[in-house]
């Protein structure tokens, strides 16, 4: 490759490189540095070595938040993907009515989260719609947001409702891109609907699944707005996910060093997850 080509390549890559360095690498390095300091947004950060990490592993609140985050991630991502796929399969077929339904199911995803949260606060309030449905089902009214045993599940229902439409659209796009001749061959071979779904559709959707799982898991592990708006992390910290714990430490308690340490741990966990996921997919493809 000539020098001219190399220069042109470097020039074309420069905007991306500058963006990556300025808005990703430098902040990440700054966060890494801050995680070894005590810093309250005034004066200069004081080097404290591994103190923040030591404090983190001995903090009950950190582990409680980590556990809530794990619950939140597993039970937000799993049901969302299953529901989205089940809904997407019939909606992926052509038809004006289906196109209209696809639009309808996407509405919660485009609703502002603040508005959606107010709606769910009304639904979950004492004597609200959730109580009415529970009573009709013979379960009886429940303290959806005010009991630590229910609050996390109430939060998850809202989150699944909010985001399932987004994944339906992604799955619909994935399903519509699958080659029709494979399904025709399966039909000629006498494969029934369920068999075709599990043995043909699901394996062919592998790339879509990878994308959806990585996006959904990273989104869930970084998500703090739904918990912040719906329950403020309560009651008794039952819905305090790790990013909310991080946010509180950074912006409510001005403990930026400790918050940065939490951010670094979260980043490492997410990188390990994403790396593992992509490695598994690559080895599967090979």
């Amino acid at each position: 490759m000539s020098t001219v080509e190399a220069r042109a390549g470097a020039g074309l890559a420069a905007p991306a490189i500058v963006y990556f360095v300025l808005f990703w690498a430098l902040p990440a390095l700054a966060a890494l540095y801050l995680s070894f300091t005590s810093y309250d947004l005034s004066g200069t950060p004081q080097w404290v070595g591994l103190d923040n990490y030591r404090q983190m592993v001995t903090s009950d609140e950190f582990w409680s938040s980590a556990w809530v985050t794990l619950l939140y991630t597993v039970f937000a991502v799993g049901p969302t993907i299953v529901i989205a796929l089940v809904v997407a399969v019939p909606l992926a077929k052509p038809g004006r009515f289906r196109a209209w339904l696809r639009g309808l199911i996407f509405i919660p995803a485009v609703m502002p989260l603040v508005g959606a949260t107010v709606l769910w606060q009304v639904i979950y309030s004492t004597g609200g719609l959730a109580d009415t449905i529970a009573q009709a089902a013979g379960v009886g009214a429940r303290p959806w947001l005010t009991d630590s045993d229910y609050a996390i599940w109430a939060l998850l229902v809202m989150v699944i409702w909010k985001y399932v439409g987004l994944y339906v659209i992604i799955f619909v796009a994935g399903l519509q891109a699958l080659p029709a001749n494979v399904f025709e061959a399966a039909a000629i071979d006498g494969a029934r609907t369920l068999r075709t779904f599990f043995l043909v559709t699901v394996p062919l959707l592998r790339r879509t699944f990878t994308f959806v799982i990585v996006v959904a898991v990273t989104g869930a592990m970084q998500s703090f707005v739904p918990a912040y708006l719906l329950t403020k992390g309560g009651p008794v910290n039952a819905t305090q996910v790790l990013p909310l714990y991080l946010y509180n430490n950074a912006f409510s308690y001005s403990r930026f060093g400790y918050a940065s340490a939490i951010a670094i741990v979260l980043l490492v966990v997410l990188l390990i997850f994403a790396f593992t996921q992509f490695t598994l997919v690559r080895s599967d493809e090979e």
Partner: protein, 434 residues
């Protein structure tokens, strides 16, 4: 691919640096303020940037007052920025960190110690108010008005939205329970007794309902209980938590015995009270207008009413209070004009107009005699001011009071007994204030 020559890389880096420097200079130029800055000699002039939280009634009133002030002092431009309340502290922290804070801010006094300890606020200067000493300035306000605005013997702000929490009760619920609505409870023991009579079998209707899940309200509801018994939440001199004491544990047990924490409403305890689900609430003067706004059928004096804060039998009364404050940034470009504007807001009819238009009290001396302060709640607020306690003044206030909220929630949700929750709080304070 051939390597990029080092000279080209260096040239590129130099260009980038130059570009950055140029844009930096350009930005600096944009931010520079060539307008003269006010002083006691030159009088108020120049621009004052004000940040405060958004609240429709107050925003309308404040904009009108800005226009009035600018008409009177044409050399001044007041530039307000109304920020959603949940974002105000975060936005301010960022502005202070980057060294570009607004001149004037209106924030909760409970955040003052943190900002003052970081050197972000300017202490009050008597000259900016046209007086010779702080005592002269203080004499223009109620005796306790600066308590929440003082940190390490320095005053950092002037009070606005000054409140002392008292008892609100539903007259209709009292009547239904056979209680005399003209004789509200005056002691915490009576509150417990009344609450029992006002609570139905499945606790879907209750007597007193605490304001849960919120730092400031947790503190405001709890202070009269523990301080009224002679205890305290924190010993500020030794920086220790003080809940694991007989007074602390009794106050926690009492707190955990009232109300139903599982009741839920989108507007929290205010909504439960407005709908009559709860019959009693500890809250501030603003409750008189808030409750009809939530439930138009609730009428002050007919459906609900207010009374002085209860005390423990045989003990002194203690009320909890809070104040917001006007504060000026240490790096303010125009501190004199900022204080001049705030001073003007407390002059003439402005305090009366503000109370009437927004319900916010600026506790200037004699405010209770104003036409708009003739209501019962204002008079009760005035009566409570001398024994109102504003809670601990700590740079770590938010984290400390969150630890208090955790313990209160643990007790009321029956996750921990009072003794365990008290110990957990004291341990947490030990870690926070070490």
């Amino acid at each position: 691919m051939s390597a990029i020559p080092r000279r080209d890389l260096l040239r590129g880096a130099a260009l980038l640096t130059l570009g950055g420097a140029v844009s930096q200079l350009t930005l600096t130029g944009c931010g520079s303020d060539d307008q003269p800055v006010g002083s006691s000699k030159a009088g108020p002039q120049g621009q004052v940037v004000v940040w405060m939280h958004e609240e429709p009634a107050n925003t309308k009133y404040f904009n009108a007052k800005i226009a009035e002030y600018q008409k009177k002092y044409p050399k001044v431009t007041i530039k307000p920025l109304y920020v959603p309340i949940a974002n105000l502290d975060t936005k301010l922290s960022t502005a202070f960190t980057t060294g570009a804070p607004p001149d004037l801010i209106k924030v909760g006094a409970w955040t003052l110690a943190e900002r003052a300890s970081k050197g972000q606020l300017a202490p009050l200067a008597p000259a900016d108010f046209g007086v010779g000493s702080l005592d002269q300035l203080k004499s223009r306000f109620e005796a306790n008005a600066f308590a929440a605005l003082t940190y390490e013997n320095q005053i950092y702000g002037t009070p606005i939205d000054f409140n002392s929490v008292h008892l609100w009760y539903r007259r209709d619920r009292f009547e239904q329970a056979g209680l005399d609505p003209d004789k509200p409870p005056t002691t915490w023991e009576q509150i417990a007794e009344f609450s029992q009579k006002l609570t139905n079998a499945d606790a879907s209707k209750v007597g007193l309902q605490w304001q849960l899940a919120d730092n400031i309200w947790a503190m405001l509801n709890f202070i009269p209980l523990i301080h009224g018994l002679g205890g305290q939440i924190i010993d500020e001199s030794s920086r220790r938590g003080m809940l694991n004491t007989p007074e602390g544990i009794k106050a926690l047990e009492y707190y955990g015995s009232l109300g139903n924490p599982k009741l839920s409403d989108p507007v929290g305890a205010f909504g439960l009270f407005a709908k009559g689900t709860s019959a009693m609430l500890m809250s501030g003067r603003f409750t008189s207008s808030l409750i009809p706004a939530i439930n138009p059928e609730a009428k002050l004096g007919k459906t609900f009413d207010s009374a002085i804060v209860p005390s423990w039998e045989g003990k002194e009364k203690v009320a909890a209070g809070y104040s917001w404050g006007w504060m000026v940034a240490k790096k303010a470009k125009n501190p004199f004009t900022a204080w001049h504007f705030i001073n003007w807001l407390t002059e003439g009819d402005n305090v009366d107009q503000q109370l009437s238009a927004t319900g916010l009290v600026t506790p200037t001396a004699g405010w209770q005699k104003l036409a708009s302060a003739s209501d019962k709640a204002s008079q009760q607020l005035e009566e409570q001011i001398p024994y109102t306690d504003f809670g601990p003044v700590l740079p770590q206030w938010t984290e400390t009071i969150k630890a208090l909220l955790d313990s209160l929630e643990s007790v009321i949700h029956k996750k921990q007994d009072a003794k365990t929750a008290a110990t957990a709080f004291d341990d947490a304070v030990g870690r926070i204030l070490k």
